[in-house]
């Protein structure tokens, strides 16, 4: 919610032409002497807000050279599209301070026994006894967990580090100061760490300022909304389209139309590849999964579908219609930024959270917008792509006889699923079509959503039925 307030205030500052006053936002949000519920004082909160805003302006927090550089300067850089640093996710180091360096901690249940199996079995000699109780030296501990298993009192507990726990590719780890760092060579931009961190210390770098600029320019700005929008906001699809137009976008395209082409192409490709003797094929529309294959699963590279993603098809359609337009993909995804960077037809990527916050800043209420839109047909099967299982359903819909397909769905990419996928070429199973979604539940549970995923699932189901 704090992030949404920051985005709203940033949009408002831009719309009111007061970006130079952006330095005041952390002060307004955390007034001096105000009581802070979870951080030590207003000054700490302000510092965190400042760096979170830096990420929303599109910069990597780690790239700060001079601590005195104000947000207004970064805003100026953002408007001139200066280099914003590597990676799409950034750690707000000011906010990353609370997690234990070692995963194992001795609780006060320790009896300080005579046998001391924790100390005896520790391979790194990391356990000392202080005031009659065991203590783990985080500098020496290698998180093997032997002490926890040895303690007869169950006095040693496992304390997870949320971001490291959820990262499917071990791309995030602590430096010597205990602050997390993201290794961009490993990171697949899935955004799970951002959702997991309860301190809001991980931010996705935003392109919102440049999107606002594009809307403000003479160029035509085309919004390409992902199918998962049907589970994001209260209101009919027509109302959502008109609300997006009220924000200043010149045209709204459904990425579900591109998804229709993806499904057509993928269905043909699957048949062809299996006929050629390939063991199996996986989907290619989830960019975090595609990055995971490129960086961590070279053994299945040849099994990933070559079909362009719904976003790529949709952006191509937009640019064919008007080569001078600027395209903005609006979806739930962080990894789409990486995909967009590889695709000349996609200019910007925006999250649903940013879209919702932009609406707040511009005081657009979806339910007050007209329902009417000019749309004779709608891409029904493309809209299924919004949730896990939907791509498979859409592809299978293209066959008269689906008996030759033995499908499997990977609903949420984690360390285990990656191991399974790596072994797939050698496993003796008859699975020949695998749908992979990095987010559990599919796109409606992505890191950039505006709505509770459980509610989103219901909303989506209702909206898919209603049209």
């Amino acid at each position: 919610m704090i992030r949404r307030e920051l985005i709203t205030r940033l949009c408002k500052a831009y719309l009111d032409d007061k970006l130079e006053e952006i330095d005041r936002i952390p002060l307004i949000m955390a007034p001096r002497k105000s009581k802070q519920e979870s951080r030590c004082c207003a000054h700490k909160t302000r510092a965190v807000l400042k760096y979170r805003m830096m990420a929303l302006l599109g910069f990597n927090v780690a790239d700060e050279v001079d601590e005195l550089t104000p947000l207004s300067t970064y805003a100026g850089y953002a408007l001139r599209k200066k280099n914003k640093g590597e990676g799409f996710l950034t750690v707000v180091d000011e906010a990353c301070y609370a997690c234990n360096k070692a995963n194992y901690v001795v609780s006060n249940l320790c009896r300080g026994c005579v046998a001391r199996p924790c100390k005896m079995n520790c391979p790194k000699d990391a356990i000392e006894f202080v005031n009659g109780q065991a203590k783990i030296d985080p500098e020496k501990c290698v998180n093997c967990g032997i002490c926890k298993n040895e303690c007869p009192y169950h006095a040693i507990i496992y304390v997870p580090i949320p971001c490291e726990e959820v990262c499917p590719v071990n791309a995030i780890s602590k430096d010597e100061d205990g602050v997390e760092h993201i290794d961009n060579d490993k990171c697949i931009n899935c955004g799970k760490c951002m959702i997991a961190c309860p301190f809001g210390a991980i931010m996705a770098k935003s392109q919102i300022v440049n999107i606002l600029q594009s809307i403000n320019s003479n160029k035509k700005t085309v919004a390409m909304v992902a199918p998962s929008i049907l589970g994001q906001f209260k209101g009919s699809f027509g109302q959502m389209v008109n609300a997006i137009k009220a924000l200043g976008f010149d045209e709204v395209l459904e990425v579900a139309s591109g998804a229709e082409l993806t499904a057509d192409h993928e269905a043909a490709e699957l048949k062809e590849k299996l006929d050629e003797g390939n063991k199996f094929m996986t989907t290619s529309c989830c960019p975090a999964y595609v990055d995971a294959v490129a960086k961590h699963m070279p053994e299945i590279k040849d099994y990933v579908s070559d079909t362009p993603t719904p976003m790529q098809y949709t952006a191509k359609m937009a640019k064919e219609k008007d080569p001078n337009c600027e395209t903005v993909f609006i979806g739930p995804c962080v990894a789409k930024q990486a995909e967009a960077q590889r695709d000349d037809a996609v200019d910007y990527v925006m999250t649903f959270e940013e879209l919702g916050s932009f609406m707040l800043a511009k005081k657009v209420d979806i339910l007050e917008c007209s329902e009417e839109i000019d749309m004779a047909e709608f891409p029904a099967t493309g809209r299924w792509f919004a949730e896990s299982g939907g791509v498979t359903k859409s592809v299978l819909h293209r066959y008269e006889d689906t008996s030759f397909v033995k499908n499997m769905t990977i609903n949420g990419l984690d360390k285990k699923q990656i191991k399974l996928l790596q072994r797939m070429p050698k496993l003796k199973v008859d699975t020949n079509f695998i749908e992979v979604m990095a987010c559990e539940g599919g796109c409606i549970s992505g890191p950039g959503i505006a709505c509770n995923p459980k509610v989103a699932k219901k909303l989506l189901a209702a909206n898919l039925k209603s049209k």
Binding site: K234, G356, L367, E368, A450, C451, K454, K458
Partner: protein, 89 residues
């Protein structure tokens, strides 16, 4: 108890984005003993977000009383209070 407690959730975009979407889980989260005494409905924007004094979204109205920064726990506690008052009368 003849009349049910009326809970109206603001579905305006402002409330919805600032946490109101979670409130759609209210009906499922109601404790069994309250279910028969509560009627939950959605509403277009109440307009409270424009009044400076009303507080912070998301807003919910329980029998006409505004609850700001609403969450499921707050709403259930308030419903309990309303029901307890009703019994005393």
């Amino acid at each position: 108890m003849s009349k049910k407690v009326q809970v109206k959730i603001c579905f305006g975009t402002h409330c919805y984005v600032m946490g109101g979407s979670h409130l759609e889980m209210l009906e499922e989260s109601l404790p069994a003993e309250l279910k028969d005494y509560v009627e939950v409905s959605g509403s277009p924007c109440f307009g409270h977000c424009e009044e400076k004094t009303a507080g912070t979204p998301p807003f919910v109205e329980v029998n006409g009383t505004i609850i700001e920064k609403a969450n499921i726990e707050l709403i259930i506690n308030y419903i309990r209070e309303v029901l307890a008052d009703g019994i005393r009368e």
